[in-house]
Symmetry: C2
Subunit: 215 residues, 2 copies
DNA sequence: ATACGGAATTAGCCATACCTAAATAGTAAA
DNA sequence: TTTACTATTTAGGTATGGCTAATTCCGTAT
């Protein structure tokens, strides 16, 4: 159930849009029918966690949002902890955090946050929500949607694909790095990384993993 | 299933004695019937993890022992990690470790061990088995069975009762502490703690939590 | 040798969360 | 407006690991 709440939160995005059965099924790697079943179970929970209307999708209630953001906080704290303390590489943290986020206690959460000094972002640049609070959304867009020749700073990267993360690291495309898009074609982008001055070609899939914001 | 393997290991002790359904049910806080069901499932696993004969109890095979010791290693590493790194008090570590031991990856295990410098004992004095190896059993006896007036060193303490642990800590009865039993009655023991020189009265339940060895 | 009592097992259920296959609802195009 | 496609839901089944109640086994004490 936790997984569903988190997925609804993440798929709904900043607008908290209604999320479809199909989108949830894809994200959670289960069948549509399983999602329907689970949504019905979730909708029967008291206190109410989701608003679900048949054939119309699902949204989180305030209580559902609280729970989901708590999981996101767990996840991002764990990622940073695994990276900074246990010396995981940044492509290794997601999978372990995804598993452990469900099982750590409040005490664990608090101690990790304390050790890390109440950090603001995880290794992929995502904001770590404050305890008991909803996360905030940054203004960021995927790199292919950024205008040409305009300075941008990488705000975060997609964390669910280890191979892409390794590639990004190899290319020095980490959160905080400034760049500009020189060319944006169907199949690839050419970017200039400010600190290096060098031009780099990124295929579309990789470019889609990069979120940028104005500097 | 993991819980059952670990319980069989721990209840079997150094002699690797056959473990009864009832003993398992008590340790795992489930009903006898549930244990019988689970033992049948375990006995049907390939590779074979347990030797189970109806009405005669259960023992671990070599493969079952490997798995169980791995869990014990996870548990004890986690306890030390929670204590030393996350600053848990020693009465708080057991519960969290008991939950997390099932979910950490091999990588997590290895990194924790590395950070802690391949430690030998957990906060309660229990030996941490080496990776991929069976644990070894120390010669230790519970304090009430130790002869009067003979110097003993606390080798380990029972870790499953937080209140007792807090009491032991308050009394300075930690692993490594030397003491002698002055008086051993039905209801309590009087011990002299070497470093303090002071006498302390322990009720029987508390004394049973303390395992000692010759210095 | 037998009867008793506790330990263990069987039989039959429950809940969770997944699955496939079949039926239905909603939407967009003809 | 009807058709056709796709999303969604329903129906019915699986595995895991619990449960209670009823039965059976085993060892001890008579």
């Amino acid at each position: 159930m936790d997984d569903y709440l988190k997925a609804i939160l993440e798929l709904g995005g900043a607008e908290e849009a209604t999320v479809s059965t199909k989108a949830l099924a894809e994200r959670l790697a289960v069948r549509n029918a399983s999602v329907t079943g689970m949504l019905q179970k979730l909708a029967a929970q008291r206190p109410l966690l989701v608003l679900y209307e048949k054939h119309r999708g699902v949204r989180l209630t305030a209580a559902g949002k609280r729970r989901a953001w708590e999981l996101v906080r767990h996840h991002r704290l764990l990622e940073l902890f695994l990276h900074d303390v246990l010396k995981y590489s940044w492509d290794e943290v997601h999978e372990e955090a995804e598993r452990l986020e469900h099982f750590i206690s409040e005490r664990f959460e608090d101690r990790v946050a304390a050790i890390l000094g109440d950090p603001e972002t995880d290794p992929h640049g995502h904001l770590i929500p404050a305890k008991h609070e909803a996360g905030i959304y940054r203004e960021e867009v995927i790199l292919p949607d950024w205008p040409l020749q305009v300075r941008a700073v990488i705000s975060s990267v997609f964390d669910r694909n280890a191979a892409s993360l390794r590639e990004l690291e190899r290319l020095g495309l980490l959160p905080g790095v400034a760049l500009a898009v020189e060319k944006n074609s169907n199949s690839s982008l050419v970017v200039r990384v400010e600190s290096r001055g060098a031009f780099t070609r990124l295929d579309r899939d990789l470019a889609n993993c990069i979120l940028v914001a104005a500097s």
